[in-house]
Symmetry: C2
Subunit: 451 residues, 2 copies
């Protein structure tokens, strides 16, 4: 790396070779290697760096000298990656950076090592030669994003005072392509639960069938009752707090240069089913809450036929929530509805898993001056570097950490997407376009200079 | 074994030690041992014996000298047994005959080695010393009953001419206890199928949820629609051919010395659900057809939550049919109903498995004189030996072979139950009361003498 411009590819090549798979307990050393690699770089940037362990893998926290009259930006990223155990599907070693046709291939190159390294590179570009940026910088690099950010709530509470900022800057979301950069303005919340229906004390021979309520039948009756014929969630009160999107929100979706048909082709969905004909599929997944069955099981799972009435059956459910629903209230509504749906001949147990409130970044009503300025800089910078002003989109997924940053620290996140569907994050041959990394770096240089 | 009375326990001790588990390909030699053991005995009875292989394991066929002016009885049993791989739950070696508190313990001692050996013992008692029974005897001892009688249809067609008989005699059903011997007069038929619902081309992240019809949701909607709120099967035409039981049939059920509450305790069912309040639970399982879900699966099967919309979900179904339903017609009705229930956003495939028509032995309208006499002998013999006249009960289960005997050979089966629930057939510590074996032997002596 020379003095004024960091060699990003060389940095990434070393970073990628650290096998930082957070879910694999045999790869603890890869996690430590990745931390060492980043810490060394952050120290070169003359930041105050330390490791903070609140869960399974330590997070890295770093900050520049903080002065009270300057804007404060909290950059978030994660150094852990998904497993690459589908090795036979990779065209090159997932832990060796490989370049083909203008793209870099490796596990984590898009999600998230490449994307947050672009921010580091931009800062390096601006501060090399001992120049100072007139802002307070803070970094949080998590090691548990791919395993549910399990220690991050504790981390945020522990570090609450040190993490205060005008806003967080996150490059861990999606854009359509290099010409259509997406700023994510909302994430859906989540309520996860598992239902178990128990019937007879033991599996019964189905020769007794006809007078015993089959737990699979009871479960499918309950599941079926949870939506109406149009596909709306049939839990009384479920939609009460749903805030309808503004016209502006809908205009942003309309800016996506593809209709539902093209979207269907990308997702492998032949025909969408929208519960409200007012909304397109692209709107439905952004503006409406859901109740989805993620897994169902009960009775005989082998090949062929076994004449059994099983003693139990169960289903896993997650609800996605939108602004202004609250996870706790939805949980209570579900509990009540499910209890009402359970027939007397079986028993029902409900186990709630993790939950998160929805996140909404109300771009049009920002009061913090620094953040207001940052939004303008994003708008102008994206136009300058990528050619079009960004699309400000609500998204259907959930990032627990972003909700926590808002709920625990009170700060909004600027979510700037550098990944695209082509990158195949989490899958084999994960990649990112070199041009996206270069443009991203240029954009962040412009952005930080403007702050 | 002395000349005039066979030592049944000694015969069974050797028979039990043959590990004739038909499903276990490592135990072929145990199957051969069992065949040799029985064949040796049948030859001593001066029968003409041979092995006939039509499926995986040979059946044994034996016959006495046949004279046209005498009644012909076809005795059926099976020499194969269930596996005993739950060995740690057994109090003694499952393949060593063990006596405790008036009961014999071993795998197969009740189902079916003990029960058909009682018939062999009775015949030995009557024919020892070269006496001849004035009847034509035929034996079929199957080696595939516990694996679905897979080769028996072919066997019956092959042997059609040699198997003609006035009736079949089978001791492979259930009685309540030694005081309440049950003659099974009907068996339900069966139609087995598997449904698969396919949605998106691949599993989708549930962040896209809300506009994609989830295959689990579609499947549970379909399953739920297959019964009405009362629990009746909701397939148009399903009940059209159901013949209602006669008053006599209902009187027989009423003779069971226990109500639904006691039945529920035995089955581990706290509360029955009967679709027709006209019928008790004990009647429902005998007189009405069913549609039961035997297994359901789809999506994430691991621990915790995975936010996925699965690409497929499936369910295994068996219908039990009663007189006068036909498997083929029910299959067609199901196919039509299911096609109508499938929403346009997903595709449905239906795979039918094995099927069998219901069997009804119309005891009150028998025309064959030998069989008519046999029924009287059973009635009187059971009263003499066990203390009460037998209960003539329709049963909820299915025995494919009995239906085949009727459909292919045109012969009815006298199904005399020597097993009771206490025997725990198919489970660990399978057993039978010595008194049941002794009384059974005495009964069959009386029965054959009377013919």
């Amino acid at each position: 790396m020379n003095e004024n411009t960091m060699n990003l590819k060389s940095f990434l090549s070393d970073y990628i070779s650290c096998k930082s798979v957070s879910s694999d307990s045999n790869l603890e050393s890869g996690m430590a290697d990745a931390r060492r690699h980043v810490i060394k770089f952050l120290e070169k940037l003359q930041l105050d760096v330390r490791e903070v362990k609140s869960g399974r893998h330590a997070a890295i926290f770093a900050k520049s000298e903080q002065k009270s009259d300057r804007p404060t930006v909290l950059v978030y990223g994660h150094y852990d990656v998904q497993p690459a155990d589908d090795a036979e599907l990779w065209d090159s070693d997932p832990f060796v950076l490989s370049e083909r046709n203008g793209r870099l291939y490796a596990r984590g190159i898009s999600d998230n090592k490449g994307c947050h390294s672009v921010i580091l590179a931009a800062i390096h570009d601006l501060t090399a030669g001992a120049k100072n940026l007139p802002i307070n910088l803070k970094f949080v690099l998590e090691g548990e994003e791919e395993i549910g950010s399990c220690g991050m709530e504790k981390f945020l509470f522990q570090m609450k005072d040190e993490l205060s900022a005008d806003f967080a800057l996150v490059a861990d979301t999606w854009s359509l392509d290099e010409k259509n950069i997406v700023i994510t303005t909302a994430l859906r919340g989540i309520v996860g639960l598992e239902l178990e229906v128990c019937g007879p004390e033991r599996d019964l021979h189905s020769g007794y069938g006809g007078c015993v309520l089959n737990p699979i039948q009871a479960l499918t009756d309950i599941c079926s009752a949870l939506h109406d014929r149009d596909g709306r969630v049939n839990v009384p009160g479920f939609y009460d707090d749903v805030a309808m999107p503004s016209d502006w929100d809908r205009e942003q979706v309309a800016r996506l240069p593809m209709g539902d048909e093209a979207l269907g082709r990308i997702l492998g969905v032949k025909r969408f089913k929208v519960p409200d004909p007012e909304f397109s599929a692209a709107e439905t997944m952004r503006f409406l809450p859901t109740l989805e069955f993620n897994g169902i099981t009960g009775g005989f799972q082998g090949e062929g036929i076994k004449t059994v009435i099983p003693r139990r059956a169960s289903v896993k459910i997650t609800c996605r929530l939108v602004h202004n629903q609250r996870a706790e209230k939805i949980q209570a509504l579900l509990e009540k509805t499910l209890a009402n749906l359970c027939p007397a001949e079986v028993s029902l147990s409900t186990k709630f898993d993790h939950s998160a409130n929805p996140y909404l970044f109300d771009v049009k009503n920002v009061t913090n001056k620094t953040l207001k300025n940052a939004i303008k800089l994003v708008n102008d910078g994206v136009k300058t570097v990528f050619g079009n002003v960004p699309i400000f989109l609500r998204e259907g997924g959930s990032i627990g950490l972003v909700t926590m940053l808002k709920e625990i620290l009170g700060i909004d996140s600027l979510l700037i997407g550098l990944s695209t569907s082509e990158d195949n994050c989490h899958g084999p041959n994960e990649s990112i376009a070199i041009s996206m990394l270069e443009k991203g770096r240029e954009f962040f240089r412009l952005f930080f200079s403007g702050l």
